[in-house]
Symmetry: C2
Subunit: 247 residues, 2 copies
């Protein structure tokens, strides 16, 4: 038995999310179906670094699984990609120690949120960026972002549906950069709560619109009050960009 | 009655093509449906600069139509876009003379063909570029492209289903440029025959693979022999990029 770590990418548009759900098309189920076929009908369970929601994309999600098949690392992507649907691709595979775990061993994660700023909507971007053409105060958003970096209790920026107890997380980087027609928000942290990146994005957009002042952020964090933070930005602008491990 | 010229863009993925076809979803039908609703149930016929096939995209298709409605030019896109499906957008509208015709008055057209060159397929590009990872001899392709520029009988590069008699066309520009992960083929000409850009692309790819020598192009053109030119490249890599008129 060998444990394998794979980096995968998927277009979230056609999925109810990463994690298996009854009667829904999910990324996990599509991959497990292919692995099962490769293992003569034997079920192979995959473990992801975390879930992503419906319509959320992945540029670099990480999964692991165990297999008795003697396939060299460079052949795994080809073998899996030949059977996977066109909206999932395995980018890389490598052998890992039997105690490696794609979720528990995460050191940091990067998410990106893409906001489209063109005067008119773009038909080719409709599933891949949140179309938000209103004027935005970028320096105000950057100032607010500065208040979010660091170790905080992010209860105010987390869905009420979250089931974790400890809501303290560390954001290492929160960059807001203009890239051609887009505003890209880059979040790097040791972990993110349920809907946290989307609520942070929605809040930063309200800062950009002048509805929340940058200097209100410390008190919103402190009061842990979800009603003072912004709306949850839509899923289709969000990308799980990269998952980092030691080594 | 005022004649209007509009520049439109559409994602060809969900369409059987531009032109109305029984029981198929088409760009023309979707736009005419919206115009009919805006004109209290009165049918408004639109005229495009030309058809595009199933899965072919448009960055700048041009249409015209006549309307008695007194809507200022800058309001037409907003009014139409509010009712159009998310895969069609009106980018621009302007008043034109009553004798303007989107097809007959075309001076030149630009098509672009996008070829994706990444080591692995990209889930986000699967409908928007032709994935072709094999090595290509770019200088050979560029040399072949040089033979295609100018006025020629393009019978060898035209679908047998073409119904036009005169197959002489002029290509003003044929550029092949590397843009990030893509190879972009840019075709500017006074007109293009049915499937001509896709067959030219397929032929240039065979030149890139060494199956056709660049200097065979003049004799392929001269012999008007479709069997010597390349395969028809898939529709989803093709964009009607711009249509040019006098003024």
């Amino acid at each position: 038995m060998q444990r394998w770590k794979c980096v995968i990418s998927y277009d979230g548009t056609g999925f109810a999310g990463y994690q298996v759900q009854q009667d829904q098309r999910t990324v996990q189920e599509e991959i497990e179906k292919v692995l099962k076929a490769m293992h003569k009908g034997e079920a192979v369970r995959i473990h992801g670094s975390g879930r992503t929601d419906a319509s959320v994309h992945a540029e670099g999600q990480v999964i692991h699984f165990d297999s008795p098949l003697n396939i060299p690392p460079e052949r795994w992507p080809t073998a899996l990609n030949a059977k996977l649907p066109p909206d999932i691709v395995v980018k890389h595979a490598e052998k890992v120690e039997p105690n490696f775990h794609s979720r528990f061993d995460v050191v940091s994660k990067e998410y990106r949120y893409h906001i489209l700023r063109t005067p008119q909507r773009n038909v080719f971007q409709r599933h891949y960026a949140y179309y938000y053409p209103l004027p935005l105060d970028l320096p105000a958003m950057q100032k607010a972002a500065g208040h979010l970096v660091g170790t905080h209790d992010f209860t105010a920026f987390c869905s009420a549906r979250s089931e974790v107890e400890d809501k303290v997380r560390t954001i290492y980087e929160l960059e807001i950069v203009e890239e051609a027609d887009k505003l890209v928000l880059r979040f790097v942290g040791n972990g993110f709560l349920y809907n946290m990146v989307r609520i942070l994005t929605g809040t930063l957009l309200e800062v950009g619109r002048g509805k929340i002042k940058p200097d209100e952020l410390p008190s919103i964090l402190e009061q842990r009050d979800r009603s003072r933070s912004g709306d949850t930005a839509p899923g289709h602008g969000l990308y799980l960009w990269q998952v980092n491990y030691n080594n």
